[in-house]
Symmetry: C2
Subunit: 154 residues, 2 copies
């Protein structure tokens, strides 16, 4: 064990990164959420080697984030559709994007802007309390051990 | 160019992953945000090879997410403190954690729970519109080209 996997980490961040932390994987998810469907579309967008893209797409299908669907017979052609599990990454993807906009964008500003389809306003990720409904800053967040840590016999 | 870097991607997600997408880096940020400071603390938490940890810590210092601070003279000892740029990843880290809680947690449930320090309620990431204040589902988010894409001469 040379620290190549996160298996020893009892942590939902580590488990998420086991699924989407491989190089290119989150950018494929981004593209799928933006509406790309076909192998060639992903390849044009990402410019990566075909074998790497094939590998990443297969893993995303195996992990249930993409569905491989036959959209044409003779010759058979397939496309990749994001599942609900992939759509559930939207907040994560937007949080990564907005952090990059704030801390790593070039002089031209942000490449893409997430807007509210209803009124055109900018979309933000806000931490809120599910109990009292208050909007929270990072200083108001306290991490407590959950059941998987407190019930652990170790 | 074998697709080993995201340099060709005009995308703030890709730029963020260039900084925090390396294996272990986000878990180091997690630990720093949880209060870990010293090399040995990070090593105990992550169980990775010392040279890998040294490399990741140096990169996080170079990228401005950690500050290396001398906390003791003779012998000189250093600790790593998260900067505002690291603290600004809290929403991203929590979004990754909660996705893992929902889709990849073991039978024992979530290892850690983010709570509101004020009332003890669960913390959630909510997409909101900065203009009209409405809470948004993923279907209400529309991606538009930003200045870096629309002004591009290419």
């Amino acid at each position: 064990m040379l620290g190549r996997t996160y298996d020893d980490q009892l942590c939902s961040i580590a488990r998420t990164l086991e699924i989407v932390g491989e190089r290119w994987t989150l950018l494929i998810v981004r593209d799928a959420l933006l509406g790309l469907r076909r192998f060639e579309e992903f390849q044009d967008s990402l410019g990566i080697a075909r074998n790497v893209l094939t590998d990443r797409l297969s893993k995303l299908v195996a992990d249930g984030l993409l569905e491989r669907v036959c959209y044409q017979q003779r010759p058979a052609r397939y496309e990749y559709r994001p599942t609900g599990k992939a759509a559930d990454l939207v907040t994560t993807v937007l949080a990564l994007m907005h952090w990059g906009d704030r801390h790593a964008a070039g002089p031209d500003g942000p490449p893409r802007i997430a807007t509210h389809a209803g009124c055109g306003g900018d979309v933000r990720e806000q931490l809120v309390c599910a109990e009292c409904g208050q909007a929270l800053g990072p200083e108001a967040v306290q991490m407590l051990p959950g059941p998987a840590l407190t019930d652990s016999p170790a």
